[in-house]
């Protein structure tokens, strides 16, 4: 079961990162074109600022799970020297579980926030694009991150019991 969840989260995280990469290159393209349009044609691209904000939020959230899978989030590494292997695994199991709960809380609150904005029909100033879909993506990304952390916690727990 855990291995199946791991395979699915891994696969979703990989595809999410490809979309995140497209978002990053889109930020570069939109911003550069906006500079050219503004300086040389005296006509900035309408809504470029908002598009960059949205793309930025997407690129960060869509990379979260990939980063956790690849252990890219920095941590204090002195524990590797201070504690035994068994203690480290036990601590990893507990801390990953706590992190997963925090991520689920963030996902829940982001969904509540997005629903509120949806009901209030809040849109961006220039382009009139609604905020809520992007915030829903952020919420979904935190659910994915929580799953990755939960799997890590279970794996560490299983290793500790060996």
């Amino acid at each position: 079961m855990i291995d199946r969840i791991f395979a699915v989260t891994n696969s979703i995280a990989r595809y999410s990162t490809v979309i995140a990469g497209v978002c990053l290159m889109s930020i570069v393209a939109v911003t550069t074109l906006n500079i050219i349009a503004r300086r040389f044609f005296m006509s900035p691209i309408l809504g470029a600022h908002e598009a960059v904000e949205y793309l930025g939020a997407l690129l960060i959230s869509l990379t979260l799970a990939y980063n956790q899978i690849n252990k890219e989030n920095i941590r204090f590494e002195l524990m590797d020297v201070l504690f035994s292997a068994r203690t480290r695994v036990a601590m990893e199991s507990v801390t990953s579980f706590i992190c997963a709960i925090l991520c689920l809380l963030i996902a829940w609150q982001c969904s509540v926030y997005a629903l509120g904005l949806w009901e209030a029909k809040e849109v961006s100033l220039t382009m009139g694009i609604p905020f809520f879909p992007v915030i829903f993506v952020v919420a979904a990304s935190f659910v994915l991150l929580a799953l990755v952390l939960f799997v890590e916690s279970m794996k560490a727990f299983a290793e500790m019991r060996k």
């Binding site: 990469g21 690849n70 890219e72 982001c110």
Partner: protein, 435 residues
């Protein structure tokens, strides 16, 4: 229990929980969330979670981070570091200790494209260390000089550390970037002087001079090695200085410019491009998650009123302002020995920044000083990340040898701090000219 006491307990708990190996972003987030629950209750704490995360993830200002990271990664994967090193080698190779000097110059030039110190150290280390070892440079000098010169990455603009300082303290990122130019050049000169002094005192630390180059070779190396870096640096810094670009626009223009040059010159493979994008995404998500966690934690600290109380307390001590600055720098130096410099910055800024403002210091000057302190933290044992990066490149060199080699460059950094304290215009003059 009074608010400030809760704040102090919160900081102690933070340091304790970090020891468990929990990722720093989550340590900030979990303890900040629990702290806010303790101070004002569960519902406000839950509401704050979504707002803080969205404020960070959806911030236009923070999009400066991925674009500058991408620019640095493209520079790395398109071989700019090799060309810069070659230029430094050809220009300085004949001087005693010239390869180390050339490496420092190349690091400074690479820093003009890359805002990350570990990335600067890694890319220049991979190119320069084999060459310096081939010319019989002592391992301590060779590794120490690259590790230290790599720290220029966060002082010479663009700088990720300055972006984070600017956002956390609501100061102009553009002004901070421009403020880093003169201290960055000064530190480069001080590093070169450190090499010259070492070569004079202990001639066996440096190998024989490299082969001499003709004037044509020098001109070619300089043009092909430094030309594109100068153009990109002039574009992004000039644009910001003259008020044409926002920092995000400067980063995007720089990344697009470098990408275009790399494609036209056939210096970037598809694999290199994908790796550059993936590395930028990874670092961005890692930094942003820490900032989001630190924002939650910062709200907890604000609720405890610890920043205001500590600022008032420091003023009541009646010490000379510069003595307080030296204490703050000392805390960064010691703290940097045990904690990642980014986490240290995010943890301490909510306390130290109000103190610096109560003392009447220029916020841009204080920002440059903090970044120099972070540079020291990057090379001091046992957590100096640049040292570990260099250890990764030169696996057979013991860590203590690298730390030994760092020492003269640490003195150069201390000299820069003293210059900044006694001549603050070094950091404030250029920003004062900005439009």
């Amino acid at each position: 229990m009074s608010g400030p006491i809760v704040g102090v307990i919160g900081i102690l708990l933070l340091l304790l929980v970090m020891l468990t190996g929990m990722p720093i972003a989550f340590v900030f987030g979990v303890l900040g969330f629990l702290g806010v629950i303790y101070m004002i209750g569960l519902q406000p704490a839950l509401n704050m979670l979504a707002l803080d995360v969205w404020d960070v993830f959806g911030s236009y200002t923070l999009t400066v981070i991925p674009v500058f990271l991408l620019m640095g990664m493209i520079a790395f994967h398109s071989g700019i570091s090799q060309r810069l090193y070659y230029a430094g080698h050809v220009m300085f190779g004949r001087v005693r200790g010239g390869l180390a000097m050339g490496t420092i110059m190349a690091c400074a030039a690479f820093s003009a494209c890359c805002g990350s110190s570990p990335a600067t150290a890694a890319s220049m280390g991979a190119v320069s260390l084999p060459e310096m070892r081939r010319y019989k440079y002592a391992d301590s000098l060779a590794t120490g000089c690259v590790a230290a010169a790599g720290t220029l990455g966060i002082l010479i603009p663009p700088s990720i550390a300055m972006v984070i300082y600017g956002i956390m303290t609501e100061n102009s990122i553009g002004k901070l970037f421009i403020a880093g130019i003169l201290p960055g050049i000064l530190l480069t000169v001080l590093y070169i002087l450190a090499v010259a002094v070492m070569a004079f005192i202990k001639p066996d630390l440096v190998g024989p001079p490299a082969q001499s180059s003709t004037l044509k070779e020098k001109a070619t190396a300089l043009f092909s090695g430094v030309g594109e870096t100068v153009i990109i640096f002039a574009l992004i810094m000039g644009g910001m200085f003259l008020g044409y670009f926002t920092p995000t626009e400067a980063g995007a223009a720089g990344a697009a410019g470098l990408l275009l040059l790399a494609v036209l010159r056939r210096q970037l493979s598809w694999k290199g491009f994908v790796t550059a994008v993936m590395s930028s995404l990874s670092s961005t998500a890692m930094i942003m998650l820490i900032i989001a966690g630190a924002t939650i934690y910062g709200h907890f600290l604000s609720l405890t009123q610890l920043p205001i109380v500590s600022a008032t307390w420091v003023l009541e001590l009646g010490w000379h302002p510069y003595a307080i600055v030296l204490v703050i720098l000392g805390i960064y130096l010691v703290g940097g020995c045990f904690m990642d410099s980014l986490a240290l910055l995010l943890l301490t800024l909510p306390i130290f920044y109000p103190v610096s403002q109560h003392l009447g210091f220029d916020p841009i000057w204080f920002g440059v000083l903090v970044v120099v302190a972070m540079e020291m933290a990057l090379i001091t044992p046992p957590v100096g990340i640049n040292v570990y990066v260099i250890k990764g490149v030169a696996r057979d060199v013991p860590l203590q040898t690298i730390f030994k080699g760092i020492f003269p460059f640490l003195i150069a950094q201390i000299v820069l701090v003293l210059i900044l304290i006694f001549l603050p215009q070094t950091a404030t003059y250029l920003p004062s000219l900005m439009k």
